[in-house]
């Protein structure tokens, strides 16, 4: 029972992460019709916003270790600590939450430049060409990050106060052994709020209404005098911000390296396809479905009956769902079917 409960928590946590990561992808696909293989790289750039801020905040005075003579070995004392003492330390400790704010303008600019500079030239080209160019862009971005930050993962811890585990079991009158990391609970909450925010934005604002109209029929919206292209550029920027924030928040869970985006790229495509191309609700539902199934498939009891199921469950479910519902869970007719 406890094991099932823990895996359910895991599934919800994973599902939240998957849904959030896939949200940006489906937003871009739903509005612009672009198959964006640079989505993983956008996630990676987001996580490196946190790394960059950490580097800035921990700029240090180097105290040489005199016992080492063959090369320069030193202990680093951050200037913030020297200048501001505990306040400086606290600032460094709160790098990841601060990086959320730091990353918003960067990701917005990144999305804008990417759309205006490259993607818009490929609107009328085939999906295959869009895939090639965005995949190429992803590789370039990856290599740039690798050249500067190296290939090794960079530890980016959560603030001390939320670095441990919450006694979820005790809260619910279950075993004390049931604990769950604070940061993962926060991530789940964050994902829920952000997903809710994007839905609210699209459903409750005039801007959102125009965008939805544009998603349904781009030409007609253009004909009534609305500059839909400009609106779509903003949507692209928003998608980049959402993906970037997902990346920032994920850094304490997975120390980022240049390749972190690629690890999520295939997964987010599976989530989008299972959810239904272009369907935001579908992406969220699929994210949770796949997250929960993956967690349960990893249980020893399940693996003893079906060895290796944890490694293929996501793709197996994708195959089954696409066989039963070829447009995915909530796919609309006509999307990607021309």
């Amino acid at each position: 029972m406890e094991a099932v409960f823990l895996q359910l928590l895991n599934g919800l946590d994973k599902g939240g992460a998957y849904a959030l990561i896939a949200l940006g992808l489906t937003l871009i696909f739903g509005t612009l019709g672009v198959v964006n293989f640079a989505h993983g790289a956008t996630f990676m750039i987001g996580s490196f916003c946190a790394v960059t801020l950490q580097k800035l905040l921990t700029m240090s005075q180097k105290v040489r270790d005199e016992s080492v003579t063959f090369f320069e070995a030193y202990k680093e004392v951050p200037y913030l600590e020297i200048w501001f003492g505990d306040t400086g330390r606290a600032l460094i400790d709160w790098t990841v939450p601060l990086a959320l704010l730091f990353s918003i303008p960067i990701m917005l600019a990144f999305g804008y430049i990417m759309e205006r500079g490259l993607i818009q030239r490929f609107y009328k080209r085939t999906h295959a060409e869009q895939i090639l160019v965005t995949f190429g862009l992803a590789i370039v971005l990856q290599e740039l990050v690798k050249a500067y930050f190296g290939a090794n993962p960079i530890p980016t811890p959560a603030p001390d106060i939320v670095s441990g585990s919450a006694h979820v079991g005790a809260w619910l009158g279950m075993s004390d052994a049931i604990v769950y990391p604070w940061w993962r609970l926060i991530y789940f909450l964050f994902a829920a709020i952000l997903i809710g925010g994007v839905f609210a934005f699209l459903n409750m604002t005039t801007f959102g209404m125009v965008v939805r109209a544009g998603m349904a029929d781009r030409e007609t919206v253009g004909l009534i005098g609305i500059d839909i292209d400009k609106k779509f550029t903003i949507v692209f920027g928003i998608a980049a911000v959402v993906t970037g924030l997902a990346g920032v928040m994920y850094t304490p869970v997975l120390p980022p390296d240049y390749h972190i985006g690629m690890e999520f790229l295939v997964l987010s495509f599976v989530v989008v396809v299972v959810g239904g191309m272009g369907s935001l609700r579908g992406a969220v539902a699929a994210g949770f479905l796949l997250g929960i199934l993956q967690s349960f498939a990893s249980m020893t009891e399940v693996k003893s009956i079906l060895p290796g199921i944890d490694q293929i469950i996501i793709y197996l479910v994708a195959v089954v769902i696409l066989l039963v519902r070829p447009r995915g869970l909530m796919g609309r007719e006509g999307v990607m079917e021309d």
Binding site: K75, A151, N152
Partner: protein, 468 residues
């Protein structure tokens, strides 16, 4: 050697000419004189190889012949998750080439004993090199090794950062008849069930990690523990799990569960949560590289290190450590026990010589991967000098059973039966209070070679023939 061959040929020509004149002039073929002539001619032909034992090795792959240089093939991960480790391996190889060619300060050539190298290349030939990218994928590693052998004329292949890759490349090299000096590979299989006559490993293995860690675990954690293993699902993970399990069970520990995790899983939460209520009080992470960084980081987030189970403090063990990994894991590594092949902080003359050369060249200390690769390059070159030839069977024989010292791990034996090096192993702990950015691992114990030596028969395998 060249003069002896010339003399032999001259003799044959002289004999046959003499015989020829007689035969043509008299038109009489004397059987006895013919036999005498052919016997002398045969002796003449045999003379060069008879007196110079390796001249018969002319027909081996990428024989440098009269060329002024030989080419080594450095097959390291230049892209992918182990690119940093691969870059460090390549730095070490370049340094080794420099030292072998008589440039720089000589590094371990000053400390290695016995030493046949003269600092003028190998057998008087300058060393050049080509590089390949293994991408830490077996197929990519095999094709880059193949390319280096077939197109670039590599005489020896070396490098790598994964046992899967090492075993794949080792098989290829055996088929090609090219010696493979493995880089970082820790699976028992590399020199166990998958050992090959043409493959050699200087790095230690999972069995040795277990044997070295055992007494320290007993001392620090006692004999009544319940261990839970998370294991990378490939050759290295399997053999490490087996070795550590055998060691801990021999101490009296119980193994609660062993769970295989996919390589590159990223999020390990679904594998860590079952540990929480399993009754285990020790988590053993048979993960390396990024997997280890992620699983350790996440295990710490799940509060495992703060837990008390069965009245004991919960402990995490990472049997195979590297400094580069410790960097990625940040503070989570502090206080965690593991083992390592070598560390730059060692104070013996060989380690110091290498750290000095490497540090002065690149501005930071070498990793254990760099160390093993540097040593492997030197050992191969030295074996060629010892054999007086590049002919692989002779070089192999020179390496088999070779005992040396001054290379950073005390007295070392390249055991003939399985091509595994036996030397001191380090038990280390994540440093609680590092004095510099490189001071991440504290050496707990230098375990002597005798304590980690085992019978080669326990892992089986066949080396195969000398002649590929």
């Amino acid at each position: 050697m060249f003069f002896k061959q010339q003399a032999g040929l001259h003799l044959i020509l002289k004999m046959s000419t003499k015989q020829g004149v007689k035969t043509l002039g008299d038109m009489k073929v004397n059987r006895r004189s013919f036999m005498k002539g052919t016997a002398v001619a045969a002796a003449g032909v045999a003379a060069p190889s008879f007196f110079t034992r390796n001249a018969w090795g002319a027909d081996f792959v990428n024989n440098p012949g009269d060329a002024k240089s030989v080419t080594f093939g450095f097959n390291v991960p230049q892209t992918g998750a182990y690119a940093d480790e691969g870059a460090d391996e390549l730095r070490a190889y370049k340094l080794a080439v420099k030292h072998l060619n008589g440039e720089g300060d000589g590094g371990m050539l000053n400390t290695m004993k016995p030493l046949s190298l003269k600092g003028n290349g190998v057998l008087g030939k300058k060393i050049e090199f080509v590089t390949g990218d293994t991408q830490t994928k077996s197929d990519a590693a095999r094709s880059s090794a193949k390319r280096m052998i077939e197109k670039d004329g590599a005489l020896m292949i070396t490098g790598g950062s994964s046992s899967g890759v090492a075993i794949a490349v080792q098989n290829l090299c055996q088929e090609a008849g090219v010696i493979f000096m493995a880089g970082l590979t820790h699976s028992n299989d590399t020199t166990g069930k998958d050992k090959k006559r043409y493959g050699f490993r200087h790095f230690f293995n999972a069995y040795m990690s277990g044997a070295a860690l055992g007494p320290v675990l007993k001392e620090e954690m006692g004999t009544d523990r319940r261990a839970y293993h998370l294991t990378a699902d490939y050759t290295w993970g399997w053999t490490q799990e087996e070795s550590i399990k055998n060691t801990t069970e021999a101490l009296g520990w119980t193994t609660v569960n062993t769970v295989k995790t996919p390589v590159g899983a990223g999020d390990f939460s679904q594998y860590i949560t079952p540990v929480l209520n399993s009754g285990a009080d020790v988590l053993i992470l048979n993960h390396y590289g990024k997997d280890m960084i992620n699983s350790l980081t996440q295990a710490v987030q799940f509060g495992l290190r703060d837990k008390q189970v069965n009245g004991k403090q919960f402990e995490i063990i990472v049997p195979l450590f590297s400094r580069l990994m410790a960097q990625g894991a940040g503070d989570n590594i502090k206080g965690i026990l593991g083992s390592t092949n070598w560390n730059w902080a060692l104070q013996d003359a060989g380690s110091q010589a290498f750290v000095k050369s490497f540090g002065q060249e690149y501005g930071f200390p070498p990793s254990q991967a760099a160390h093993t690769c540097y040593v492997q390059a030197l050992l191969y070159a030295n074996a060629c000098e010892m054999a007086g030839s590049f002919y692989p069977p002779e070089v192999i024989k020179a390496l088999e059973g070779f005992e040396f010292d001054g290379m950073g791990n005390g007295k070392t034996l390249y055991r003939a039966e399985d091509h595994q090096c036996f030397k001191d192993v380090l038990v280390v702990r994540g440093n609680q209070n590092p004095s510099s950015q490189f001071d991440l691992l504290e050496i707990v114990k230098e375990v002597p070679a005798e304590q980690v030596t085992y019978d080669p028969a326990i892992f089986g395998g066949e080396l195969g023939p000398y002649k590929a």
